[in-house]
Amino acid sequence: MKSTFKLIRRFILILMLSLIGLVVINIVLLVGLTYRDKSNAGGWKAAGEVAEQLTGSEADGFSLTDEGRSILKERQAWAILIEDGTGNVIWNSDDLPKEVPLHYSAAEISWYTRGYIADYPTTTAARGEDLLVLGYPKDRYWKLMYPTWDYHGIVNTPKKVLVFLVVNLLCIISIYLIATSGVLRQVKPIVGGIEALPEGEAVYIREKGLLSDLATAINRVSERLRIQERELQKKEMARTNWIAGVSHDIRTPLSMVMGYAGQLEEDLSLSEENRRKAGVIRQQSIRMKNLVNDLNLASKLEYHMQSIRREMFNLVAVVRRVVVDFINADLEGKYPIEWNTSKDLEACMIEGDKELIRRAVNNLILNARIHNPKGCRIFVELKEDEQKAHIYIEDDGVGVTEEKLEEIQNKPHYLMNQGSMNKQRHGLGLLIVKQIVEVHRGSVCFGQGREGGFRVQISLEKGRG
């Protein structure tokens, strides 16, 4: 939608600029084209000048000075002098056309002073009591005979011009709006479609009108994306199912191994040494069992095949139950757990999958035990602030090197990596923790413990309610 507004803004800007441009161009053109035209073209002035240059009187004959002649010549004009009272022509220039009469009535004079004599446009000037008439070639002036204006007509001219301008502007804008809204109507669904594409929605635009080609192309892109997504999903599904299948098929034989190894371990008729070996087989089988379980869950989480049950639950209770299970299972007392949570924090409600969170905490404590076979203290702490609940699990065991930490933090696990599997990577336990926290939109941070061990912080959004 935003881009459509941008488009409208751009259009209006262009319109305004082009209007201003047009006005400027018009002014320039007007000035340029009419630069040489003179108003009234000096016709009336010339008549006056000629009248001044005519010397003498009726009694001793008229004569036109050279200057007067040159004016006439320049304008290819002729001149007559009409006597006051009689209406007779008492002087005329040399080249007077034959059709020009030599006597005029008062009515004719009043006509000729403004208009034409025998189609020659004329101007006049007074010379004493007499009238000097100047006649020009027929194509010299265009004269309007009745230029009388209504007074109000002239007075109101500015207003009228304004009305014209406004009406014109409105016309232009409405034409523009109609035209562009037509285009926008065509463009809008296309823009909407393109904007929806990255969201992964299915897009269909009607393939009609001006931009039908574009609409078709977008529809095809959307179709293609959906097909690809389906394909990808199919592949992921196949991968998850494959892993699930393999781990399922391993379970039965592993049950046998574990079952009989357990029996041999208890079998008192065997030597101590052999029973110890059976015990090793059983313990390693348990590791395999855990690995198989983890693998399955990790692949399901990675491909979003694990269904997540969302419910409000008390995080403190869940974490404490995990801790209790560990305390009760730790018969030798090699892994004492210290509960460092503030006494005031007894309930901290978050929304999420209780079982998965339990699994994550379980994995972290288990991780501390796996990496510290000689035993270590484990510290569990819960904190909350305005928005988040934090779980800290720390030990004082062997800890990790910076490189290892970097690897855990940033390197993708081989399960998610196309790269080689040559290098030994950390187990699935931490990966699952990361994944679980991820599906809960929380964050997890691995670091060095304050007492030399390993420290993990999980932060989760608190539930609203």
Partner: protein
């Protein structure tokens, strides 16, 4: 001798289970399909059924339904799926417990025992005791030596009962609260602490010995 039916289509596993259970003093019948299981269930009475879910023919779930229609024989389901979702469906569809493959024999045996004890309805031991402390479930009396603790409330009794039942175990505040009050724990730490300190006071009136140990921040257990 308790009679147990093992329903499992994998011969090896079936035999393994039979061997282990027989060794532990149960008598066992083996069924390798759902149909066979149905027949055996009709003919004999069993104290407990170990049921694999993935069976040829009649599926494990159907067998479970059949068993539930007839009565309340405890059923422990064996499953090769570890799906967290599976767990809930199983327990809601009538199984009493479930064990995921691969399993350790010790675990199977332990769970069978639990189920049988529940089912036998023999009132669990009437008298629980720990050192000098005895708890009589019939009379709701708590004694230390010969001395009866005065005015033990229902919740206090329940707390002691839970601790005495599993003497080495730590119980979280949640566990204790939910056991004694029969309602979900929402952080009523004060209530629980008050009850514990009342019990301690009552014990202290009789003896100097500590019976209840606080596991800081987590819960309580018997003092060993």
């Amino acid at each position: 001798m308790k009679n147990i039916l093992i329903v499992e289509d994998d011969t090896n596993i079936n035999n393994l289970l039979k061997e282990a259970l027989t060794k532990s003093g149960y008598s066992c019948d083996q069924a390798f399909s759902g149909t066979e299981a149905g027949l055996l269930l009709k003919m004999n009475a069993y104290a407990l059924v170990l049921l694999d879910l993935m069976l040829p023919g009649i599926s494990g779930k159907e067998v479970l339904t059949q068993i539930r229609e007839k009565g309340s024989i405890p059923v422990i389901v064996l499953t090769a799926k570890d799906g967290l979702d599976e767990k809930v469906t199983l327990l809601t569809s009538g199984a009493d417990d479930y064990i995921t493959k691969p399993f350790e024999i010790q675990e199977v045996l332990a769970r069978i025992q639990v189920q049988l004890r529940h089912a036998s309805k023999e009132p669990e031991e009437h008298i629980l005791s720990f050192r000098d402390l005895t708890l009589n479930r019939d009379t709701f009396q708590v004694r230390i030596g010969q001395e009866v603790l005065p005015k033990i409330t229902k919740q206090e009794f329940a707390i002691l009962e839970l601790l005495l039942k599993h003497q080495k175990q730590v119980f979280s505040k949640e566990d204790i609260f939910e056991y004694a009050w029969k309602e979900p724990y929402m952080g009523e730490t004060k209530t629980l602490d008050v009850h514990i300190s009342n019990i301690r006071k009552k014990i202290k009136a009789v003896t100097e010995e500590e019976y209840i140990e606080t596991v800081w921040g987590i819960g309580y257990r018997l003092h060993t």
